[in-house]
């Protein structure tokens, strides 16, 4: 039997009836068609499905949709405004931090959670913050540089 939940996603309120075993990532991707959140492993190991839950980065593939009841979620689609890309997104574009792009959504959100708490992290802080987000393409260096450039105010938008 489906369960009704109230959830805020990207500042929009939803009332949804979901199966009790539906994962949060499936709810976002299949019910809300927010496919920017990726599924890389389904086991909470790769970080591609990272979203912000009340500001904290979590793997949405190992959380049930019903656990998101009365909570606030931000997905990658929630970062862009009418003014354009979020400074972190813009930095990823400019610094060459994106190759295949499959880890990018999760990576950007982990970076956002870090910068929201610590606007001026050092390199090691950045590496720790994104260490749950696997990337097989970039070697991480340009991602770290992108996050650094935001913290150093190189990016404005």
């Amino acid at each position: 039997m489906k369960i009704v939940i109230n959830v805020t996603v990207n500042q929009k309120n939803y009332e949804l009836a979901v199966e009790p075993n539906m994962t949060l990532v499936d709810m976002l991707r299949e019910e809300l068609r927010l496919t920017g959140t990726k599924k890389g492993c389904g086991l909470g190991e790769c970080g591609a499905c990272t979203i912000l839950l009340d500001g904290q980065p979590v793997s949405s593939c190992v959380m049930l949709a019903v656990e998101a009841h009365n909570r606030k979620i931000v997905t990658i689609e929630g970062l862009e405004t009418e003014k354009g890309l979020h400074p972190i997104q813009q930095a990823f574009v400019e610094k060459g931090a994106i190759q295949c792009g499959f880890c990018t959504s999760g990576m950007v959100l982990s970076a956002k959670a870090l910068l929201d708490d610590h606007p001026h992290p050092d390199e090691q802080d950045i590496r720790k913050a994104i260490s749950g987000n696997l990337c097989r393409c970039t070697g991480y260096q340009k991602i770290v540089e992108a996050v650094q450039s935001v913290s150093e105010g190189e990016q404005t938008s």
């Binding site: 496919t35 994106i98 190759q99 792009g101 970039t138």
Partner: protein, 791 residues
């Protein structure tokens, strides 16, 4: 030097904004309104005869639309190389590894499809398991494939020069054996696809593939369709690294199920299925005997190799050749003998992975060369200078170095890393090591023997003249090829980058063999450059005719027409353009004549301007058997210095610094070249330190997930100092050649050589886990203690 307006810059990737904002669509993000979901029954046993398959219970489950087995699919054999077609869409007589496909279901949703799969009853008769090459090669071992005696999938025997005679004359001869473990490409996006057979009998397959062209051919062949009715479309792909470079069973199953049901059928692998599909790096055992003269000249190499291939050939016939041929460079070597066997076992098939075939051979040899240098009392850098090939050299196995910046690479890493200052001075537990690399810039021949063009490209100008649309069937899989080709189009046409739009990865756009063997920048880039130049020529011809001047007196740069002579008036052309574009916002005024105006004129005169380009390698050397694997229009080379730390109490290795130089001929996009280098080094680091696919005694994979199959995180990977070396390849577009795979070559041996510097121990088995390193350190300490005791 030529001044370029677009290429050789750090232009941001054209796909980056879509990827940064979550809008880029990968296969699992695509859905069709009436799609069904497929699921595959995979074998739970590693080797067994199929006695009976009963699908009746599955068929009765409500929501099931089709159930298919080998009876429906037929027994057309397929694979990668026509010389080794050893797979059928479904197993019919026996299963050969845990994961082998037996049947498939299409149903209204994923859950129903999975439930139906669990209702298919298969009766098996278990067969003896062959889980190592030793078991598989044993006299009288059961055969995994009846057609391959001794379980030998492929063997190679090549000799260039006279190795035995040469070794007899050497002052130093050394033999070492080296091995790695089976690896997984471990891209982030699991394979997925949607097969759609429409009412007119056309089949469209959307798939996360590196090679739409080969998938198109394989699907057409196995499902007995005309190639012209099969279209393969590649959405954004989340990395491939080799495992997505050939057709997989899921792609054909989705198409077959769609043909049975008349509806689109979608399937996506779980991470475990990605591991079972495998097709990544083989397990290699290399035995190398190298002979050198006292002055440091390397003269001869005798090389034996055994590859554990798993249950099917996949790319293996190419892998087994590459594992030998790629040691033909980057050193001058007069005598080389290579004997190798690729052996079937009851494990998932191995195939191609970044640095195809050459990575472990390179690791083994570069470490051995370091040992020889030390025995001769030579610095490893000097030793390599002494032996390296130069521009214009041809290797003993007929590989021609049309451009070769090897010396520049070694000098660059030596100087940037502080090699001379650090070498021999680091404390115990810290080490510095170096190694070189070498790789093809595109396979000289297609996987199937053919006279086909390797790529075609089309540049179509918009009717208003303001935009150029590049159509190519090449595969953007994350490496940045769409951006590279947009930049080449912009440069060759003479327009700004933002005036170029790219459509790629669709077999309807032409022929392109795809993203493998580090081929696209050189090969597709060549075709794209020609297509853009063709379009430009057509525009300039019309313009020259109108102005009654010669085409050679006009050029285009960054969107502007440049007249080489004085006094050219284009007022009539501008007035015509202004007149018919009344009300437009971008009207040219006092500015020089724009390319858009000229292109509009060309459209008015002759209709749509379409430039065409194509590429096929020139005749490449080598008449011996197997010469097709290793010959390439050009070769990339690289050098690397690694600095690391070893915790002598735990065996834990930390990589502190990597300095990497790569000769990519010419960097079309400097940021992308660095990205390929940094990504290659990450993969090499993972393979060196911890990556290993493990099995139990039943052939079950023990770690088909990222929790237990470890790939490097941001905390494992240090910063890399990337150095781009540009040797200007004469056969590449603007001088460009490969970087995507060759860059991985020096990483593992540089780590091995640095580890020796830190510990005084040579390791001959990967990965360099803390257990392996700790044990070796303790053994060495015990030996030293015993030695002291004897004294």
């Amino acid at each position: 030097m030529t001044q370029y307006h677009t290429i050789n810059s750090r232009a941001p990737r054209i796909d980056a904004p879509d990827k940064a904002s979550g809008k880029a669509q990968f296969i699992d993000d695509l859905n069709m309104s009436d799609q069904l979901h497929g699921a595959i029954l995979q074998s739970p046993l590693a080797h067994a005869r199929i006695v009976k398959i009963d699908t009746s219970r599955a068929r009765k489950l409500p929501g099931v639309k089709a159930v298919v087995t080998a009876e429906d699919a037929g027994l057309v054999q397929y694979g990668v190389s026509p010389a080794r077609y050893d797979e059928t869409l479904f197993c019919h007589d026996k299963v050969r590894y845990i994961g082998d496909e037996i049947a498939a279901v299409a149903a209204v949703d994923r859950e129903t499809a999975l439930a139906a799969v669990s209702l298919i009853d298969v009766e098996y008769e278990e067969l003896p398991l062959l889980l190592s090459v030793e078991e598989a090669m044993k006299e009288g071992a059961p055969l995994i494939h009846e057609d391959y005696p001794g379980n030998i999938c492929a063997e190679v025997h090549q000799e260039f020069g006279d190795v035995e005679a040469a070794l007899a004359e050497c002052d130093i001869v050394r033999t070492d054996t080296f091995m790695n473990k089976m690896q997984n490409c471990a891209f982030l996006e699991p394979q997925g696809c949607i097969g759609h057979y429409d009412h007119r009998g056309y089949l469209t397959l959307y798939s996360s593939t590196q090679t739409p062209h080969y998938v198109q051919r394989t699907v057409a062949m196995t499902l007995k369709m005309p190639i012209g009715k099969v279209r393969v479309v590649k959405p954004y792909v989340g990395g491939g690294f080799g495992a997505k470079a050939s057709a997989n069973a899921m792609e054909m199953v989705a198409c077959l199920l769609s043909m049975k049901t008349g509806k689109p059928v979608k399937m996506v692998f779980t991470r475990e299925q990605v591991f079972l599909q495998a097709r990544g790096r083989h397990k290699f055992v290399h035995t190398l005997t190298t002979g050198a003269k006292k002055d440091g000249t390397v003269v001869a190499l005798k090389h034996n190799c055994i590859l554990e291939g798993g249950a099917y050939a996949s790319f293996g016939i190419a892998t087994v050749y590459y594992a030998g041929s790629l040691l033909g460079g980057p050193y001058k070597l007069q005598h080389m003998k290579y004997d190798a066997y690729r052996v079937y076992t009851n494990k998932p098939a191995c195939g191609a992975q970044r640095g195809h075939g050459g990575v472990i051979a390179r690791a083994a040899w570069e470490q051995q060369l370091d040992v020889i240098a030390e025995e001769l009392g030579m610095d490893p850098v000097e030793f390599r200078f002494k032996n390296m090939m130069n521009n214009g050299d041809t290797s003993c196995n007929d590989l021609y170095m049309s451009s070769f910046g090897m010396r520049e690479c070694v000098e660059a890493v030596r100087d940037k890393s502080g090699w001379e200052r650090k070498r021999g001075t680091l404390p115990r537990g810290k080490g510095i090591g170096m190694a070189c690399g070498f790789f093809v810039s595109g396979a000289g021949f297609p996987i199937y023997r053919s006279e086909t063009f390797h790529c075609t490209a089309t540049v179509k100008l918009s009717e208003d003249g303001g935009a150029a649309h590049l159509y190519t069937a090449s595969a953007e899989i994350g490496q940045g090829s769409d951006t590279t080709f947009a930049m080449i189009t912009a440069e060759a046409l003479g327009v700004p980058l933002n005036a170029v739009k790219v459509s790629s990865g669709d077999t309807d756009f032409g022929v392109d063999l795809g993203a493998y063997s580090s081929r696209q920048t050189l090969m597709t880039g060549f075709a794209v450059k020609h297509a853009a130049e063709d379009a430009k020529r057509q525009v300039l011809e019309v313009l020259a005719d109108k102005l009654r001047i010669s085409v050679s007196d006009i050029d285009v740069k960054d969107g502007t027409v440049i007249f080489k002579g004085p006094g050219i008036t284009f007022r009539t052309i501008r007035n015509r353009y202004r007149k018919e574009h009344r009300g437009w916002t971008d009207m040219p005024d006092d500015a020089p004549l724009s390319f858009a105006e000229a292109a509009r004129l060309a459209f008015i005169v002759k209709g749509t301007v379409i430039g065409q380009g194509e590429y096929r390698p020139r005749w490449l050397g080598g008449k011996f058997k197997g010469a097709a694997v290793g010959t390439s229009p050009a070769y990339g080379c690289s050098a690397q210095v690694v600095e690391l730390r070893v915790d002598m109490e735990t065996g834990q290795i930390t990589i502190d610094n990597m300095t990497d130089a790569h000769d990519c001929g010419f960097a079309i996009n400097r940021t992308s070249v660095e990205g390929q280098m940094q990504g290659s080094l990450l993969m090499g680091l993972g393979e060196a330190l911890f990556e290993e696919v493990k099995f139990d005694q039943k052939g079950r994979m023990l770690n088909p997930n990222f929790g237990e199959y470890k790939i490097p995180t941001a905390l494992d990977m240090p910063n890399v100092t990337p150095i781009i070396v540009e040797s200007n390849e004469p056969y590449g577009p603007y001088g460009a050649k490969e970087v995507g795979e060759g860059a991985i070559m020096p990483t593992i041996p540089a780590i091995l050589n640095a580890l020796y510097d830190a510990t005084g121990i040579r390791f001959h088995e990967l990965p360099l886990t803390p257990e392996r390193v700790y044990k070796a350190i303790k053994e060495k300490q015990c030996e030293a203690k015993a030695e002291r005791g004897r004294k």
